[in-house]
């Protein structure tokens, strides 16, 4: 961003453009970094946290271990529409 400002002041079009592109690519990089974990979430097995009876029982369930939010919006996923109808309002059997 600083480069963009400096290049604007100097008035070098090519330099300005190069910095604009670097900024742009950086933004996309950050965006992708935040999107990929949601796209390919890590699964953790709660049962695997078991020390042959030496430790405490796992105090969380599989569901609680990993519950990613919607990237960038930071709100929970709406799972009611996973099958393209609202599970709360419609029941489909068969």
């Amino acid at each position: 961003m600083g480069g963009v400002v400096v290049a604007s002041v100097i008035g070098d079009f090519i330099l300005l453009f190069a910095f604009v592109e670097i900024t742009s690519v950086a933004m996309f990089f950050i965006l992708t970094l935040s999107l990929i974990p949601a796209f390919f979430p890590d699964k953790v097995k709660a049962e695997a946290i078991f020390y042959c009876g030496l430790g405490k029982e796992p105090y969380i369930s599989d569901e609680e271990v990993y519950r990613p939010n919607v990237p960038l919006l930071n709100v929970p996923y709406d799972t009611n529409w996973d099958n393209y109808y609202d599970k709360r309002a419609v029941k489909v059997e068969g």
Partner: protein
């Protein structure tokens, strides 16, 4: 009016952006949020309508000819953007269950529309490029607002493909700069470059913008998923505005470069033709057999998605732009005629597709179902929107007395070969079948599985119904005037005025003002 310096071209992008930025800061109350954005859209619309009516063959710019420049073609494109943007803002007020996200939604929505407007109002490829990137970021995040896992996948596809498109355009921009020493889109700048360089440059831009436009094969990778997974108002803008503005931008760029190459022309016609027929066929497959056969689905369940149908249709309609552009390059003397076709198709597809998405949204909100296989028929629950849905579908099927008749006339004129006419009419037949089939499912669907609704179908909020009704009225009114006027039955005066205006506007796609080469 000739070329004049004025602050008016800044009003639409600035006021809309201001509305989106200020409203979440002023209040979290949904009605106040909406009112601020509504007023901003209305102000922008008034300013742009004034320019649309007054500009004629002239142009207004700020701060110079290569900053923001509004001429008849740009003002026309911005007008459609603003009308659909305003209707989308109205629709969104009752769409989101979680009211807390309405503020951020309006902020991104206004940024998205601002970036799209900026793409349309410049003859500077750098500004077009920056606006392209801004629209990708804001548009991609807007897709996430349905809060579904499948929407995240769709957004990732959208981002990846858009970045590839942007990088391709970037190569073109640097190549253009090395050839012409400028980033400006002027006939004069390209007059001195070699024919081969012009062809290579135009090809790079055609592919780079083609990814964003959604032409075959790039569009199938991201368009059906992104357009169907987004919130309904965003789907309407993605399909009705974004892909079309990208097509408008590539028409401007390639029209100005004017490469003389039959090979490039045939490449554009080929890409356009494949898009037209593939998209229309896949829409019919989606409506009848489902995503298992139509593919390009990001959800886990096999569905016959009502919004997916119209997303496939979009990837068909964008092919028309490439077809017209290719035909214009093939016969340069007819370029103004095909540029006029581009503007008319922009109008028809923009209004019809936005209408179909808005009405599909009404169906989904009323029945709580987005899958035609599960819809049990809504009957009178969607009321007048059942009729407006039909109007949208018929217009895309190029039926007379709708706006689609303009595209029908374009492709049945003597300027187009029989093969291309047959292709367009086949695609229109697919869309007509899809419209009627999906309409039947909506009105009297009989699912194979047992479907139990928790309650009766709810009545959709009046605010959700407004966009469909307004757009259907526009499509029918203009369609009747054009159909009767073009055939010498009635409204001939109105028709001739409209035709004359479009002829002037078509010239200004590739030049700042009518008759002006810079």
């Amino acid at each position: 009016m000739a070329m004049e310096i004025s602050l008016l071209p800044l009003v639409a992008p600035l006021v809309i952006l201001l509305g989106g930025l200020v409203s979440p800061l002023v209040s979290k109350k949904e009605k106040l949020l909406f009112t601020i954005n509504f007023v901003c859209f209305a102000v922008a619309l008034v300013a742009n309508t004034w320019m649309l009516l007054k500009l004629g063959g002239g142009a207004l710019f700020y701060p110079n000819e290569y900053g923001v420049l509004v001429n008849s073609a740009s003002a026309f494109v911005v007008e459609i953007t603003l009308v659909l943007g305003l209707l989308g803002a109205i629709y969104s007020l009752r769409y989101f269950e979680d009211r807390n996200i309405l503020g951020p939604f309006y902020l991104l929505y206004s940024l998205f529309l601002t970036s799209l407007i900026l793409m349309a109002v410049s003859f500077n490829i750098l500004m077009i490029y920056v606006a392209f990137e801004a629209s990708t970021i804001s548009g991609g995040i807007l897709i996430l607002f349905t809060k579904r896992r499948s929407a995240t996948k769709a957004a990732v596809r959208f981002f990846i493909m858009s970045v590839i498109g942007a990088l391709t355009i970037l190569v073109g921009i640097l190549y253009q700069n090395s050839l012409t020493g400028t980033f400006l889109l002027t006939k004069g700048a390209f007059a001195a470059i070699g024919a081969a360089d012009a062809v290579v440059l135009a090809s790079i831009y055609a592919i780079g913008f083609g990814i964003k436009v959604g032409v075959f094969p790039f569009g199938l990778l991201w368009l059906p998923s992104a357009h169907s997974e987004a919130p309904t108002a965003v789907s309407a803008i993605l399909s009705g505005v974004m892909v079309q503005i990208a097509a408008f931008a590539v028409s401007r760029v390639i029209g100005i470069i004017s490469p003389i190459s039959d090979l490039l022309a045939y490449m554009l016609i080929g890409l356009g033709g494949l898009s037209v027929i593939t998209g229309a066929a896949l829409a019919a497959v989606e409506a009848t057999a489902g995503s298992k056969w139509s593919r390009f689905h990001v959800g886990s369940a096999n569905i016959r998605g009502i919004k997916r149908i119209w997303a496939f249709s979009t990837s068909s309609e964008v092919g028309v732009f490439y077809l017209l552009l290719g035909l214009g390059l093939l016969v340069p003397s007819l370029l103004p005629v095909f540029m006029m076709g581009i503007l008319l198709h922009f109008l028809n597809h923009g209004l019809s597709k936005a209408l179909l998405f808005f009405d599909s949204g009404v169906v989904i909100e009323t029945s709580h179902v987005a899958d035609l296989s599960v819809l049990r028929g809504l009957g009178s629950s969607i009321g007048v929107n059942a009729l407006t849905y039909l109007v949208g579908g018929l217009s895309l099927s190029l039926i007379p007395f709708t706006l689609g008749y303009t595209t029908f006339r374009e492709f049945t004129s003597g300027n187009v070969s029989m093969g291309i006419t047959a292709l367009i009419l086949t695609a229109a037949a697919f869309i007509l079948f899809t419209t009627l089939y999906s309409f039947r499912c909506i009105m009297s669907g009989k699912p194979k599985m047992k479907v139990v609704s928790a309650g009766e179908h709810e009545k959709a909020s009046a605010l959700l119904r407004i966009p469909g009704v307004v757009l259907a009225l526009c499509i029918l009114t203009l369609g009747i005037i054009v159909t009767l006027g073009a055939n010498g039955i009635a409204f001939q005066g109105y028709y001739l005025n409209i035709e004359e205006w479009f002829q002037v506007a078509a010239e200004t796609i590739v030049a700042p003002f009518a008759g002006g080469l810079v």
